[in-house]
């Protein structure tokens, strides 16, 4: 299967801040990738580099066989939905469809109208007067109207209530059903995108922590829970991602290197949320921040 996104050492520095550092990822075509990480991890920066809205400081990116840049051939293959869902507030969905028709060579306005009709969203109301969920749906429909081969969505769920979130994900799943569309969806709501995504990119502190197929990643990791004890034996064979010790027990997230055979540990495969949380709290710990899982949830926006 061919590659939709491939980056090598992609970095973005602003004057004092490194927003993205040495990012090397690979997303095969047709996958739905969850781009997760705490706020400020570099998710938006990565997406903006991939759209060509921002230029990298170093490193390279190849997206659908091309370098991201200001070229109609490149732009027409990319659908981008920015975090704040920017649309012209005084214009209606119909006017936006018109704009799309005039700015894109392969525009499918009929599909936009059809999507919005199904959702019962007015085409003639200024989009500024629509609800947040409806506006997100309009923006998604417009982005899909471009017939992109790669859809980059930056926190589209963040501002939506649970019902709107469900509807939005439904629209997205439908769009992805054909199998040709590659989607990268940044979010910190793991539980919501768990169902939809089959690929994971985990960023923390401007660096890539994990990138790959979710099934594979989960299979490579184990949660170990046991009575409080020494972990050096485990660390000898496996890589401990995160260690949490209470008075009575120790729980570990481990990247396994072969089976764990010590009967003192209860071993189970983590779910996506546990995996992501494990890596994210490791990152917090390495930065000298000690926080319980509850606090982390609120910091990282995890539920």
């Amino acid at each position: 299967m061919s590659v939709a996104i491939e980056t090598h050492g992609l970095s973005k520095r602003y004057r004092k801040v490194t927003a993205l550092s040495d990012c090397s990822i690979n997303v095969p075509e047709g996958r739905i990738s969850a781009l997760v990480g705490p706020n400020g991890a570099g998710k938006t920066t990565l997406l903006r580099l991939l759209t060509g809205l921002a230029a990298s400081t170093s490193g390279e990116a190849v997206v659908l066989g091309r370098t991201p840049r200001q070229e109609p051939v490149y732009l027409s293959d990319i659908g981008y939905l920015a975090q704040e869902i920017p649309l012209y507030r005084r214009m209606s969905a119909r006017e936006h469809i018109g704009i799309g028709a005039h700015l894109n060579s392969q525009w499918d306005g009929e599909s936009v109208r059809a999507r919005l009709d199904v959702l019962n969203i007015s085409l003639d109301q200024p989009v500024g007067t629509l609800s947040g969920g409806q506006r997100a749906q309009v923006a998604l429909a417009l982005t899909l109207g471009k017939r992109p081969r790669l859809l980059l969505l930056d926190e589209p769920l963040a501002a939506l209530d649970p019902l709107a979130r469900k509807l939005f994900l439904g629209s997205l799943a439908e769009a992805a059903a054909g199998g040709d569309l590659t989607i990268v969806l940044s979010s910190h709501l793991i539980a919501d995108i768990d169902q939809l995504c089959d690929h994971l990119i985990l960023l923390a502190s401007a660096e890539v922590q994990l990138c790959g197929d979710i099934e594979t990643l989960l299979a490579e990791h184990r949660l170990l829970v046991g009575a409080r004890k020494d972990t050096t034996a485990i660390a000898r064979t496996h890589t401990i991602v995160r260690e949490e010790t209470t008075v009575r027990q120790t729980s570990l997230l481990v990247r396994v290197n072969g089976p764990v055979i010590d009967p003192a540990w209860a071993v189970e495969e983590p779910n996506l949320e546990e995996l992501v949380l494990g890596y994210m709290s490791q990152n917090y710990a390495s930065r000298g921040i000690t926080a319980g899982a509850d606090q982390l949830s609120s910091i990282g926006g995890l539920r």
Binding site: G79, P86, G98
Partner: protein, 318 residues
């Protein structure tokens, strides 16, 4: 892109056109009135020596119409201020550039076409206003020969088009550089007023080296037609220095002969003591050359500003 530009600006454009029509109608009515007075009076007195008959008849500077004509000096600034400054800045503020610049059109093309139409609109608006003011002030300029003077020269013929193109380029550039509408508005206003004042008060006097005439103080010299005065004064006749190194004290700097200090009218006394008057000026036949030069200056500055805008938008992250 043209369609998009039209969709975004049609209401504002209609409003501007409406206001322009109102101004034009008032000035045209007043202008036709002035022209008819001009023709009937000059028909009665033939050529020359009837200036006195006009004064009260052509009330061109009637307070309201005159003020309206003077107010058109703001017309070239307004499109640049109200449309130019927000053009890029407002998109960046609301984030809609992320929508616009990820469609199948490059940023360069987006900027080029939008800028092109706005420049055209600004030129058209200023051109129409200037044409109407030029028509309205025709009889008055023929009568008082002041078309070359500041506040008249700037309102008529082609210079307002240059100002408008400059203001639009300035607004767009300021919006792209400062990325916020309010600072862009402030910078546009300040830079426009600043450059206009600098040009009108100082630079314009020097587009060509002025003609200098020395004259007998007893026979005051008045150039023909509407001229642009550069400087004027009194000089001791034997201290003449030929232009361009013309550097003489004017009246204030001249040591006044004792005999003349007490004289009720010092002019004959000065003449008797060997002083003469001088006038440096740009003659009336340079009017169109000056219109052309000034328009060109503003157009060149506008092109430079547009160059900066393209460079900034291409180079900076959106």
């Amino acid at each position: 892109m043209t369609w998009v530009t039209w969709r975004q600006y049609r209401y504002q454009g209609a409003l501007a056109a409406g206001l322009l029509v109102v101004v034009a109608v008032v000035l045209l009515i007043a202008g036709f009135h002035a022209a008819s007075v001009w023709h009937s009076v000059s028909g009665q007195c033939g050529t020359g020596a009837c200036g006195g008959k006009f004064g009260s008849n052509i009330s061109l500077n009637g307070p309201i119409v005159g003020a309206l004509a003077m107010a058109t000096s703001a017309v070239p600034l307004l499109p640049g201020l109200l449309w130019g400054a927000p053009m890029v800045a407002h998109e960046l503020e609301t984030g809609t550039n992320q929508f616009a610049w990820t469609q199948g059109v490059t940023r360069r093309r987006w900027l080029a076409i939008k800028t092109g139409w706005l420049l055209l609109a600004a030129a058209l608006i200023a051109g129409i206003a200037a044409a109407v003011v030029t028509f309205w002030s025709g009889p008055d300029h023929a009568l008082t020969a002041d078309a070359f003077m500041a506040n008249r020269f700037d309102l008529i013929d082609i210079v307002p088009v240059g100002y408008a193109v400059f203001a639009m380029a300035l607004g767009i550039c300021a919006g792209a550089v400062f990325r916020r509408t309010v600072p862009a508005l402030g910078v546009t206003l300040a830079a426009f007023v600043g450059l206009r004042a600098l040009v009108a008060q100082w630079l314009r006097l020097h587009y060509m080296s002025p003609v200098t005439v020395f004259y007998n103080l007893q026979k005051p010299f008045n150039p023909a037609g509407s001229y642009l005065g550069v400087s004027q004064g009194i000089v001791r006749a034997n201290h003449k220095i030929a232009p361009p190194n013309f550097n003489v004290p004017n009246f204030d700097g001249v040591a006044i002969p004792k005999a003349c200090q007490a004289a009720p009218d010092p002019t004959p006394c000065f003449a008797a003591h060997g002083y003469e008057g001088f006038l440096k000026y740009q003659p009336a036949n340079r009017f169109w050359a000056f219109q052309g030069i000034e328009t060109a200056i503003f157009l060149v500055v506008a092109i430079a500003l547009l160059g900066i805008t393209f460079w900034v938008l291409n180079r900076r992250d959106a």
